[in-house]
Structures are given as structure tokens and as C-alpha cells.
Amino acid sequence: MPILTLITFLPLLGAILILFAPKGKDNLVRWTSAVVTFLTMVLGFYVFFTFNRNTADLQFVERAAWIPSFGISYFMGLDGLSMAMLVLTPFLSFLAAVYSFNIKERVKEYFFFFLLLEAGMIGVFVALDFFLFYIFWELTLVPMYFLIGIWGGPRKEYAAIKFFLYTLFGSVVMLLGILALYLTSPITAANPTHTFDIIELSKSHGLMPGWHQYLVYAALFLGFAVKVPIFPFHTWLPDAHVEAPTAVSVILAGVLLKMGTYGLLRISYTILPEAAKYFAIPLLILAFINIVYGAFVAMAQKDLKKMIAYSSVNHMGYCLLGIAAMSTVGLNGAILQMVTHGIITGALFFLVGVIYDRAHTRDIEGFGGLMNKMPVYSAIMILTCLGSLGLPGLAGFVSEFMCFSGAFSSTINTNVFRIFTGLSIAGLVITAAYFLIMIQKVFMGPLNPKWKDLPDMTAREYVSIVPLIVLMVLLGILPVIASGISVKSVDALVMLLGVKI
């Protein structure tokens, strides 16, 4: 069974189905989307549970010639680098689809774009042919643009255009890198054309001359850096997040950002290992800036959603730290961090949505004493914030610990790594500070009489949020259930990078 094709195109099928829904049947559209995303999620879990963790080989491979004269093939597969994201993406998409039931305007179009987006995201994580990869990569852009631009907040047009142009700029530069790789791929008797095959390219480009690798790496890096986002390419993120509707923010933080870090691992690291090593220290420094800068700027925010958005900049920094380290622990940690950040920050954006839907404001200073009015909501929100600030016992701690530990023991340049990792640890205090300040202002103190009628969470909100909380606790207590997925592939990657352990 071509399961990867199925899981990728099921949402697309759903999107097309929705187009045929008669006018005014909004609930039909909603439920169709819920069912489609649910089925996709089930498939995701099915793959996750049948995935063999004891091999670095590609699994569930599907391959067909597509445009042979250009060396383009329909090539999909899964390994430890992508498995985690393949299960997280449909999972978050389902929860976000359920949450989106509160969308009232242009429901049909909303879910059409939403499902299109899901197809694009899943495709990115399973495609192993550059051509295919790039199509999916760009496919995520368009629906996201409309989702922000139509259903967003007051400055939606600005945010949507900024997001679109910024990421498009990144991906165009990335395309140059891809073409450079394509055109320099060797032509042999067995392979009469250049190839877009990512796995094939990773075998041939490790031996490219240094400067060539550096140049291509830089081009690809720009594309990924915008997505992650890495300082100083991050300013589209707060705008996009603040304006995007809740469910879209969740997807943006939970999945879209990870396309950047995934790209670094899957493409930059495997195809250009020499350049990756060459740029490890700059990446480390950028990771440090992301962590500390993101934390400080988050502390200065008055808007709850913007604060969480900057906390994403902060948290993706941990991920980059693990990636820069190139050690087994660091890379495994980075992959786990992608998942835990997706879970925790996803939950945080849902939770911000919950309060915004009720109060129609996100001004941190404007709340106060919500703990007495909305006890369940407050408890969940505080727990999630604690998860985000890396409290042990919750998922975030495990991956942050691994990223730090990996960076600390990196053999690239031990002293430089130890210094910057040590400095990055300082970010943890700032992170704790901004979350605690926010918790105090929003939930503690006397109840602001303005909010005396706020109801607690609804069933729809529970369905969207509780699974994430459960997973956050579960992964925090028993991380071994997830940490083993990427082990073999990371081992292979570390071998390929040729970093001394």
C-alpha cells in the first residue's frame, strides 16, 4: 500500500471534496474536514507504530519515474529524521481543524486552504526528490497566505504579504541552491541525466570542493533560516502569528517552522557535510542569539500572542543549538525539540485563542485574577507555560536538556561550544521570568471585574488542547517512547558528517 502517497494526498482529496459541498452547508464542510484530518492522523499513527526504529534505512519507500529526461522522479520515503514530524503534522492538523469549527466566515474556503496546507506540509516531510520537495514547499505558502490574509486580525493584509514575500524570497534563493546541486550532479553511464534525488545527491556531493559547498549551503541556508526563523530573518513571525487565526498560528508554530530545521538536517547536512561543519560555529552563535535575544524580546511584550511568538524564536534556538552541535545527543535532541515545541507551543497558541475568543483582547496588563474565574483554563495554561519554560517532568525539559547536553559535548570546537552553550543557559532564567511575570499578571491578583462573566473552556476546546497536554506530560515522564525514533538515522548522519565522537 502506498501509504505515504495516501497520507499526503488524503487531505488534498478532502480539499477537492469540500469544493463540491453545496453552498451554506457549513457544518458538512466542517465535519468533512474533521473526518479527513482524523483519518490522516490515524494513518500518521499507523506509520509511527509500524516504523522500524532499529534501522537507518528508508522505509515505506515509493518511487516512480516522473520526468526522466530531467532526472525527476516521484520519490517518497521516511526515516528517523522525518518520522517524528510525519506523526506530529497530521496530529496537530486534526486538533487545529477541530478548533477551527469556530470559523464562521467563508467556511468552505477556509477548510479548502487548510487541507491544502496540510497536504503541502506532509509532502515536505516525505518527499525525497528535490523537485517534489520544492513543489510541496511552495504549496504550503499559498494557502497560508490566504489563511492569514482573509481570516486574520486587523493587520492581516500586511502580515500575509510580509509572510508571503519573505518566505518566497527565502525559497527562491533556496531554489538557486537546489539548481546548483542539480546541475553539478555527476552524469554517468548509469545516470544519463542530472538528478534531483536527495539521497543520490547526498552520496555525490560530500566530495565537492569546499567553496562550492559553502556557496550552495549559504543559499539553502537562507531559505531555511527564514522558515525557522533564525535571527535576523525572524520579524515576519510575530506579525504573522499575531494576525493569523488561532488554528493557523498553531500550525505555523507547530509545523511550518520545523520545515526549516528539518531542511537543515535533511538537505544541508546530508548533502553538504563539509559546509555544515564549516558553518557550525556561526550556526551556534545564531542559536545563542535566538535563545537570548528571543527571550529578552519576549519579556518586553504586552500582547500575549506576540510573547508566545517571540518565545518560539527563543525555543527554536535550542533546536539550532542541538543541530549545530552535530553530536548524537544534540541531533536527537533537536529532533525531539521539534516535536516538543510543536506540542507545547501549539497548545499555548490554542490557549491564547481560548482567552482571545472570550475577552477579545490579548493585553497581558488587562487581565488579572483569572485563576478564580476560569480554574481549569488557568491550570492548563500555567502547566503549559511551565512546560515551555522547561520544567522537568514535562516534555520540554527532555529535549532542551538533550540539546544543551549535545552542544556542551560537541567535538567541533569544544571550548567555543561550551562558552556559547553556557551563555545560552542564561536564557533559561529569562524564559522563566517572562512566563512567570505573565502568569502573575493574567491569573493572579484580584479578579479584574471586567472579566467576571468569562466562562471556562468548552468541549471543542478540550478536544483540541487536552491531547497536547497529555502528550506533554507523557513525554516528560517517559521520553524513551519518542527519543528512540531518530536514533539510527542520527547515527548514520553523524557518520556521514564524519564528526569525531
Binding site: K162, L165, Y166, F231, P232, H234, T235, W236, Y293, F296, V297, A298, M299, A300, Q301, T328, V329, N332, G369, M371, N372, L386, L391, P392, G393, F397, V398, M402, F404, S405, F408, S409, R418, T421, G422, I425, A426, L428, V429, I430, A432, A433, L436, I437, Q440, F443, M444, G445, P446, L478, P479, V480, S483, G484, V487, K488, V490, D491
Partner: protein, 653 residues
């Protein structure tokens, strides 16, 4: 005992309070005040098990055991977590479960009628779970996890009455201040893991010695690791310079102060150093840092206790000071002494706090200036409080006497007389401020109109139990060296050797210090022969400095908090104006460029095209004029042309 029964028993100790937490947090609303019984039942069983294992170890029936399981998998390596039972753990288990049990009993009365009654018990239970996990851990990572969790529940309990801003502020301050120390701890752990590749205490203990012998690890590295890990202890045990959170933490309900901020969590830092003593004995500089930090904190905090008027703040400074004592003991090599003092202190300080709680409950104020003469109305409270005061002051026969003397002996035997004298002076100050508190609270005439009453049985029974423990705990442990049997590091500890190794000098000095302190307080606050107000006036600058806690909070506000907030705001402006400014700027430039190009297109390019057309057109119009159709005109032009050509030929020949 059958070996395969021990693991379930050990796990049961934290598991039962965990169960109580789950029940209380999810069904708290339904069960209401029954929440207390849920928590009490759970902790009682844990207490009995702990006691059983403890006596088993003393009797030599039980042996040290360890259990591990895989927690995290990095491929070839992984991290294992596990629990262990040895003498040190057993002592801590008994301390934690005893105090926890009594505090939970006490809280029935103290928290009576609180709208979040079940929540309070849920938090207390979960705190106990984390604390038990901390002492059961056989590795750094589980210890660190529990360490952070006790910090969380301390935060939640300090800010339990979160409607009050001062309470939520205090909780936040406690969390963030200890987090600063934890950064060092975390960095130390990373370094340790990088160097040794394991978190397991037993393995590390062997590795440290082996690697040191083989030269693959330097003493300098161990010093660094030791100091970094100690940073964690400085935060949790409120040592200088991170002591600032503990006095503020008194915003929490008093039972919380007794359990968390006197007996258990704050002692965790001391326990941490003791548990990882195998690093410190090989790291002389780290050891000195520990010793001097402890000694300085001891006298520094005691000085602030001299002038405080809030009954709980006096006790808080006293706790900081006594923790400094324990840390100092470890720093001079007195492993057994430090842990011994931790144990006795847990009992008498919990008693002091619960007694203070009883006073607050009965009188409705925390300011000792508004009290006075309460002893008549609160007999049990007064007597038990007096016992605790005698114990902490180090009056012979009471538990504090034995442990304090061991601490001072350890300092004396280590040869560091400077530290020894700091310890002795601190002992004097301790006796003084404790009895100042006692006399001002319980004796004399009532200074204000307060209708004090004795607290209910649920509150006085724990007081009495703790009073008994404050008397006998020391003696019991000294008898037959039972404490040393459980908690003994080995000959490496330089100050090791117990009380009798110290000279009579140490004993006499320690008694003298206690007697002097009590006498002075007696004269000043009971007989009122010396007016404290007069002294305060005479020594106004000193008094002001002490009352304002050396202005350290203000200093931190200026040098850390404000700059951090300022930096945040500055970076945000930078982000908006510069980083995003560049993005918007380039966007704007692009638009501008396209407009300019548009203009260029219209004016120049199009202009050129149109211009060419216009010229052709106009030229045509002009030339049209020549086409008159008259032959004579044509001939005239032709002749004129000829003429001009000839003329040119002549001129340019």
C-alpha cells in the same frame, strides 16, 4: 526482609502521596475537607515505611540498594534513572515524612475554612512526592528533576494566596532567584556528564577516584564542577548572595514555611552537597568555597535576625543562618556534623514555625511589637516554643546542642579557626535573637488589644510531638553513634570525628555563647534593664543597615532586574526599528524603485518613443511647407542648394 519486597516498598513511599495529589487535584471540590485525610493517610503509611527501613538500616538488617531503569535513549548511550536506599537517604526519608506528616496534621486547623483547602493539600502532597524523589534519587538527573519540582511547588505554595500581590511577587521571586542558582547547577551537570558520561552517584564516586588517579580528570575540573553544582545549593538553601528570596517566602501559609522553608526543601542544598561529597573531598577549592559561603551566610543572616520584628522573618533569617551553619560544616569536612544539624534543625525549626503559626492564628498579627504576654493564653504554644528556642540556642541536653557542637568541633578540628570563631559568634547571636523573640512574644504585658486564644488540638499535638523530638533527637542519635553509622563518609572528611574529638574548649565555648546570648536577651527584653530603643538610636546607621537587609534587594533591583527589563525593551525596539525596519525598508525601497522605474518608463523610455514620433510628425509638417507645387520654387531651392555647395567647396578647399 525479602529483597524483592524492598523495591515496591521504596516506590510506595513517594507513590502514596502522589496518589493523594491526584485524588485531591481532580476530586478536591467533591471531597472538600476530606482532602486532608486523604493526604494524611498517604503520608502516614509513607512515614511508617520510612521508619521501618530506617531502623532496619541502623540495626544492620537492611543493606544499601539501588534500582535503575532506562529513561532516555541516545542510541549507543542513554540515561538511566533510579532510586536507592542508604543511610543518608534513610535519614532524609524520616525527616521529610515526619515533618510532612505533622505539618499536614497541623494544617487541618490552620487552613480551616480556606476556600482552596483541597488544593492546599494537593500541593503539599505533591511537594512531598518531589522531595521524596529528591532524596531517593540515585543519580543527578532524577535529583535535578525533583529539585525543580520542589521549586515549583514551593512557588505555588508561597503564592497560595495569590490574590495578594505580595504573595505572588514572593513566589515569583523565589522561583527566579533559585533558578539563577540552578543555571550553575545545570551547567555543572552538563559538564559532569560530558566528562564522566554518567549521572549515577555510585558510578561517579568510583569514576572520580579512578580518573583522578589515571590523570584523565584534573583537580581543576573537579573544582569547577563542584562549584557549579554548589550554585544550585546556594539558590535552594538560600545562601548568600541568593538568600533574598527566603525572607519574602514567608508570604506563604505558615505550615508551608515550616515544611518547605525550614525543614525540607531549603535543606535540599545541604543534602546535595552531602550526596555529592565524593566530588568535594577531591576538590579543595570547591570545598573552601562551600565553607566560606556557609560561614559568611551564617553570621550575615544572624545579624539581620537581630533587628527584625516580623515573627516569621526572624525565623526566616534564622533558617538562612542555620543553613549556612550546615553548609559551613560540610565545607570544613564535617559530613556527619552537617547532616546531623540538618536533622535536628528540621525538627526544632519546624516547631518554631508551627509555633509562630499558632501565635499568628491565635493573635492575628505577625508583628512581635504588637504581641507580648501571649504565654498566659497560649500555654502549650509557649512551652513548646521555649523548648525549640533552647534547642536552637544550643543549651545542653537539647538536640540542637549536640549537632551544633559537632559542627563547631568539625570547624575547630579542620584547623580553620577563622571559620570556627564565626560559628561561635553566630551561636551567640542565635541564642540572643531567639530569646529576644521569645520574650517579646510570650512574656511581659500585652502591648496591644489582641484577644489571643490557644489553637485547636490538631495544631497543638504536632507542636508537642516536635517538642519531644527537639529534645530527644540529638541524644538518641549520639547514643551508640547511631547517626554516624548511617551517615558517615569516611576518613577523607578532614573534620570528621564527632563531638568527643573536639576539645573541651569547643564544648565550653559553645555553652558560653548560648548562655551569654540568652542572658543578654533576658536583660534587654525580659527585665528591660537595657533599652533596645536606646541601643538602636545609638547605633542608628548599623540598625538601619540591618533593618534594610543591607540594601541587597534594592541593589539587585538596580543592577539586575531593571537592566534586564531595560534590555528587553531596548532589544524589542531594536527588533522593530532596526531588524524589522530593514525588512520594511527593503520592502519600501522595492516599491520606491518600481515607482521610479515606472516614472522613468513613462518619461524617458516612453518619452523617447513618443518623442521620435513627434519629431517625425513635426518634421513632416515642416517639410510639408516646402512642397508648394510651384516649379519656380523648386528651381529656386535647387539653385540655392547648388550655390551653397559651391560656396562650401570654395571655403573648405
Amino acid at each position: 526482609m525479602v529483597e524483592n519486597m524492598k523495591l515496591p516498598l521504596l516506590i510506595l513511599i513517594p507513590l502514596l502521596p502522589l496518589l493523594a495529589f491526584v485524588i485531591n487535584i481532580f476530586f478536591g471540590k467533591k471531597i472538600g475537607t476530606k482532602a486532608a485525610y486523604v493526604s494524611l493517610t498517604a503520608i502516614s503509611v509513607s512515614f511508617v515505611i520510612s521508619l521501618y527501613l530506617f531502623f532496619g538500616l541502623i540495626a544492620g538488617v537492611e543493606k544499601t540498594v539501588e534500582y535503575t531503569f532506562e529513561w532516555l535513549n541516545f542510541g549507543s548511550t542513554g540515561v538511566k534513572l533510579g532510586i536507592m536506599l542508604d543511610g543518608l537517604t534513610a535519614v532524609m526519608l524520616v525527616v521529610v515524612t515526619t515533618v510532612s506528616l505533622l505539618v499536614k496534621l497541623y494544617s487541618i486547623g490552620y487552613m480551616h475554612g480556606d476556600p482552596r483547602y483541597s488544593r492546599f493539600y494537593a500541593y503539599l502532597s505533591m511537594f512531598t512526592v518531589a522531595m521524596l524523589g529528591l532524596v531517593l534519587a540515585n543519580n543527578f538527573l532524577l535529583l535535578f528533576i525533583s529539585w525543580e519540582l520542589v521549586g515549583l511547588f514551593s512557588y505555588l505554595l508561597i503564592g497560595f494566596w495569590y490574590e495578594k500581590k505580595s504573595a505572588s511577587d514572593a513566589g515569583k521571586k523565589a522561583f527566579i532567584t533559585t533558578k539563577v542558582g540552578d543555571l550553575g547547577f545545570f551547567a555543572g551537570l552538563l559538564l559532569l556528564f560530558t566528562v564522566f558520561g554518567t549521572f549515577n552517584f555510585t558510578e561517579l564516586g568510583q569514576l572520580v577516584i579512578a580518573r583522578l588517579a589515571s590523570g584523565s580528570v584534573s583537580v581543576g575540573m573537579l573544582n569547577l564542577i563542584g562549584i557549579l553544582i554548589f550554585c544550585g545549593a546556594v539558590g535552594k538553601s538560600a545562601q548568600f548572595p541568593l538568600h533574598v528570596w527566603l525572607p519574602d517566602a514567608m508570604e506563604g501559609p505558615t505550615p508551608v514555611s515550616a515544611l518547605i522553608h525550614a525543614a525540607t526543601m531549603v535543606a535540599a542544598g545541604v543534602y546535595l552537597v552531602a550526596r555529592t561529597f565524593f566530588i568535594y573531598v577531591e576538590a579543595p577549592i570547591a570545598m573552601s568555597v562551600v565553607a566560606y559561603t556557609g560561614a559568611f551566610t551564617a553570621i550575615f543572616a544572624a545579624s539581620m535576625a537581630l533587628v527584625a520584628y516580623d515573627i516569621k522573618r526572624v525565623l526566616a533569617f534564622s533558617t538562612v543562618s542555620q543553613l549556612g551553619y550546615m553548609v559551613m560544616a560540610l565545607g570544613v569536612g564535617g559530613y556527619t556534623a552537617g547532616m546531623f544539624h540538618l536533622t535536628t534543625h528540621a525538627f526544632f525549626k519546624a516547631l518554631l514555625f508551627l509555633g509562630a503559626g499558632s501565635v499568628i492564628h491565635g493573635s492575628g498579627t505577625q508583628d512581635i511589637r504588637e504581641m507580648g504576654g501571649l504565654g498566659k493564653k497560649m500555654k502549650i504554644t509557649m512551652v513548646t516554643f521555649l523548648i525549640a528556642c533552647l534547642s536552637i540556642s544550643g543549651v545542653p541536653g537539647f538536640s540542637g546542642y549536640f549537632s551544633k557542637e559537632e559542627v563547631l568541633s568539625a570547624a575547630y578540628n579542620s584547623g580553620n579557626l577563622f571559620i570556627y570563631w564565626i560559628g561561635t559568634v553566630t551561636a551567640f547571636m542565635t541564642a540572643f535573637y531567639m530569646f529576644r523573640l521569645f520574650f517579646m512574644t510570650f512574656t511581659g504585658k500585652p502591648r496591644t488589644e489582641i484577644h489571643a486564644h490557644e489553637s485547636p488540638k490538631t495544631m497543638t499535638v504536632p507542636l508537642m510531638v516536635l517538642a519531644v523530638l527537639s529534645i530527644v533527637a540529638g541524644g538518641l542519635f549520639v547514643m551508640g553513634h547511631s547517626f554516624e553509622k548511617l551517615v558517615y563518609f569516611g576518613a577523607e572528611g578532614a573534620g570528621e570525628g564527632g563531638a568527643e574529638a573536639g576539645s573541651h574548649f569547643v564544648r565550653n565555648m559553645s555553652i558560653t555563647a548560648a548562655v551569654l546570648g540568652i542572658t543578654l536577651a533576658f536583660f534587654m527584653y525580659y527585665l528591660k534593664k537595657v533599652s533596645p530603643e536606646y541601643l538602636a538610636l545609638k547605633l542608628a546607621p548599623v540598625h538601619k543597615l540591618l533593618s534594610n537587609r543591607y540594601y541587597i534587594d534594592e541593589l539587585y533591583e538596580i543592577i539586575f532586574i531593571k537592566p534586564a527589563k531595560g534590555l528587553g525593551n531596548f532589544l524589542f525596539k531594536f527588533d522593530q526599528k532596526v531588524v524589522d525596519g530593514a525588512v520594511n525598508g527593503s520592502g519600501f525601497m522595492t516599491v520606491l524603485m518600481s515607482k521610479l522605474q515606472n516614472l522613468f518608463d513613462k518619461v524617458i523610455v516612453d518619452g523617447a518613443v513618443n518623442g521620435a514620433g513627434w519629431i517625425a510628425n513635426k518634421g513632416g509638417e515642416l517639410l510639408k511647407q516646402l512642397q508648394t507645387g510651384l516649379v519656380q520654387n523648386y528651381i529656386l531651392i535647387a539653385v540655392s542648394g547648388l550655390f551653397i555647395i559651391v560656396l562650401i567647396r570654395i571655403i573648405f578647399r
